[in-house]
Amino acid sequence: MNATGDFYTVQPKDAPAEMEEVRKLLAANDLELDDQIEVFAVCRRQGRLVACAGLDHYTIKCVAVAEDTRGESLSLRLGSEVVKLAAERGAFHLFLYSAPHNLPFFRGWGFYPLIEVPQRVVLMENSPVAIERYCDSLRAQRRPGRKIGGIVLNANPFTLGHRYLVERAARACDWLHVFVVKEDASLFSYADRFALVAAGVKGIDNLTLYPGSDYIISRATFPGYFLKEKTIIDHSWAAIDLLLFREYIAPALGITHRYVGTEPFDSVTNNYNADMKLWLEHAASAAPPITVVEVTRATIRGIPISATEVRRLLAQRDFGKTAALVPATTQQFLESKFPVAASNTQMKGQIA
């Protein structure tokens, strides 16, 4: 053992006893254990766990150093260890959540602040230039006009409801910018979702379709979005995602209005819509407010069209009913991708 201590990694699911020590260290630093963390980098000194840093895919959270071991180089070694750990797992563009008062500490780890929700949380990334480069690429796509719309779709999968929303927004705006959520955490893969959106919005001319990015509804900006049924969402996490949109993405493209469908079924998305008005329109920010336009969902025979319903029908292979809810392009895809002949029970298990 060296003077600093031994650094090693812990997978929460394999080490319940050790996680109890991690939990205590976090609690002593007013932090809660985040159950999305896949792996921790930890330091043990003379038998005692003195430092930890958690990694959820490409986001670092739950960083703590025991108070009596601060002021040494321990924290920088911890930072190096967790960055190396992420690299070994294929993640190089990293994000980090911190309490605002610890921001200077993480500057020493090579992280730069992106968005701060005052008194609550700050999101940082490990590049001083990545967000600006991304915004530069968006700026190249700017279009003239007074009313410029923006929509973010997960489209899991693309339905006639999405088509209706996009059409309505495109008609109301001089130009419309549409983003597809990139994260592969939904039933349909990102590649499939994107292809179905591209096919589904054909014929609308004043529109640009963008691949998603880590800055728009990603595990980094809005982890709660991908845990829908599981947890109660921390509102500050939606705030981070929305403030990123307001302060970086919208100004780069000149977006003045954000369009969203009303959400009758899914409470996470419904909360997100409410948060949208707060953070895009009302909250104090250096960036100008963006008007949120909630478009009443398209209905078929009085029932709102939703992707959730399409997935439910799909689990039962009820293609007769899905056909009424999705455009022909999506329907063809569903029928080819989910053959009735396939082992029904097995597929149901995957979808549930």
């Binding site: 180089s73 920088l76 190096s80 190396k84 190089f92 090579g110 590049s127 230039v129």
Partner: protein, 98 residues
């Protein structure tokens, strides 16, 4: 050499540096240096980095450096290691690096 993937080398500890290399779609070399001693040694660090990249014939890619006051020889070693990893290179002509 061509940068084909992301790679890192180094640490964040004092007297070391962390070098992050990534492919760039712009076809140019983009070097960003953050250093605790940027005012005194910024130019010198940039010269060293450029020299290593020239010797390895790296013409495009994004190089981000977090320097914690490393000596030139350390900077050279870390930049070389990161670039070689980013180029997926197993073999190296050591002569070109002298």
């Amino acid at each position: 050499m061509k940068v084909i993937k992301e790679a890192i080398a180094g640490t964040l500890e004092s007297s070391d540096l962390l070098v992050k290399v990534a492919p760039s779609d712009k076809g140019t070399r983009e070097i960003v240096i953050r250093s605790e001693v940027i005012k005194r040694f910024g130019k010198q660090i940039r010269n060293v980095v450029n020299d290593v990249l020239d010797k390895l014939s790296v013409s495009d890619g994004s190089i981000v450096i977090e320097d914690k006051g490393a000596l030139d020889c350390v900077i050279r070693a870390r930049v070389q290691a990161a670039v070689l990893r980013a180029c997926g290179s197993e073999e190296l002509d050591w002569g070109t690096l002298s």
